[in-house]
């Protein structure tokens, strides 16, 4: 069971990351590339949360129900980090989409292969 959980959660996270990376590297459409970036970020965030999990742990909140009792809590640090990572990912995605809009206006296409005025 433990083995299965390890591989399934990590596997899902890695699958998402792989999917995102594949889209970033192979898809020609700029919007799809941006989607790939967000999928990549999601996979990474999932990995963060998964790594912070501790078997049998509860959310790290000292609500009245748990105060005073001995409970195992999950690692709060990756959760705090993932919050930051999500926000940063959001910011980057917003800027990326704005750039896609600009690129589409200028080149009238979203094919990345056709957008290479700057080279060498």
């Amino acid at each position: 069971m433990q083995e299965f959980l390890t591989y399934s959660i990590y596997g899902t996270a890695f699958f998402l990351m792989l999917l995102g990376l594949y889209a970033v590297l192979m898809k020609k459409n700029l919007v799809k590339i941006v989607i790939g970036l967000t999928v990549l970020d999601s996979g990474l965030n999932l990995l963060f949360v998964a790594v912070g999990y501790i078997s049998g742990g509860t959310a790290p909140i000292f609500s009245p129900a748990v105060v005073g009792k001995h409970v195992i809590m999950t690692d709060p640090v990756p959760q705090a980090l993932v919050l930051t990572a999500i926000v940063i990912g959001f910011g980057v995605t917003a800027v990326a989409l704005a750039l896609v809009v600009r690129l589409y206006r200028k080149h009238n296409t979203t094919n990345i292969d056709e957008i290479k005025n700057l080279k060498w």
């Binding site: 970033v24 700029l30 990549l40 970020d41 790594v51 930051t84 800027v95 600009r102 690129l103």
Partner: protein, 496 residues
Amino acid sequence: MVITDPVYFIALPLLTAFLLPLFGKIYKPLIGIIPGLVFAFLAYISFDLYLNLVPGKPIIIQMAGWAPPWGINLVFSEFSGLIVTLITFLAFLVWVYSYNFKKVGFDNSKKYFTLLMLMVAGSIGVVLTGDIFNMFVFLEITAIYSYGLTAFYKGRDSAEAAFKYLLLGSLSSVFILLAILLLYKQVGTLNMADIAVKAQSIDPKMKSIIAILFFVGLGIEAEMFPMNGWVPDAYSQAPGPVAASFAGMLAKSGIYALIRVFYTVLEVKGVFDLLLIMGLLTIIFAEFSAMRQKHLRRMLAYSSIGQMGLIMVAFSFNTKAGIFAGLFLMFNHAIIKTLLFLSSGFLTYSTKQKKIRDLDGFGKIMPFTSLMFGLGAFAIVGLPPFSGFWGKLNMLVATADSNLYFVIALILLVAVVEIVYYFKVIGRLYFRQQHKDVEVHNPTWNAILAMSILAIVIIGVGIYPDLITDYLTKATNELFDKAGYIHSVLPNLSLN
């Protein structure tokens, strides 16, 4: 003490950036003036703090009342302080240069100055912070700043350049995050000094994977060879002062992060050999590409990559001489490349195509700007009596010190190439007949002031390099003394 606290380096620009739109609503010119005041103040406190720094006793600032490793801390040491001082100084000059850039068609100054403030805060944050995740956050701040300002001009291919940078920057952040995640799970802490203590017990295979992830992630920011495709595009499409800030501040914080991670945080055997090889490849590809460029700004961008490669090579020796030379090169590159980008801003602005061959005879119609460009070119290729020479000499001495004669030969051969393409431009500027259809945009007084200050620094350090060598030596000792860093951040830790 309260008035000169390193936390102001980050808090003040952020506060100003948040409030800048409001100032604009009160009185329009405040948008231009307030950033200048803030930059001047930052430059003042950085000089004040740096000059009063007691050797071996860096200023450690803890956040929110928690001592490291529990809270985030800022470390203003001889090394980080030096780079912060450089950044604030350059930021102030960039402000002076772009203060009334509006006159020559620079609109939207509110957003420009807001972004500039944030960028200064970000790159200072990267340098000062003692926490690895915090470093990542500040790196992202500088990265988003670059995406935004690279695409600032609408008429050029700037969005394309910004998108390329964004693509690579996102990959870089993914790798850095993965590395931080793995590292956290191994040592359970994010403080750099604490990691440095505990990293010795990490499984070497795991450590090498972490090192590789950091290497690739930070290598993108530090313009390392196979991952620097974004650099020429971004540098050539961004507005002049922004390109200057890329070269002067952004690239500096990128390379700072790289060397901080590998010198202090993670001690991995072999990474320096890798850095040497990649640095050499960076130099070769960049300078050879620069040789054949037709656009002035692209040429400068490639040259900038080459300089970064040289800095990487210098730091890869892992000796005191190497670090000293690397710091000297960093200083030179920051000052001189800023001057080159600032002057090329006006040069290319007056041409239609922004090509090198349009610059024929500009020495006559834009004498000051051309003179500044020429001076910068002389300095960057390492001709005495300008500051570039001392950096190069120290670099070569450090190389010889590590018995790498073939590297000396290679660096010097590449330097010949560098001389050729810079002198081609100088030849065109001064000794060619000018084209007819140029509309001349001579620099405004504040731009002249900014460039003159840089030129004075270049000549001053060139004639008397001991102006800065003391500080560089101190910084070298600080960076090389890993145990000292750990001890000053975590004084209660017993090292055994």
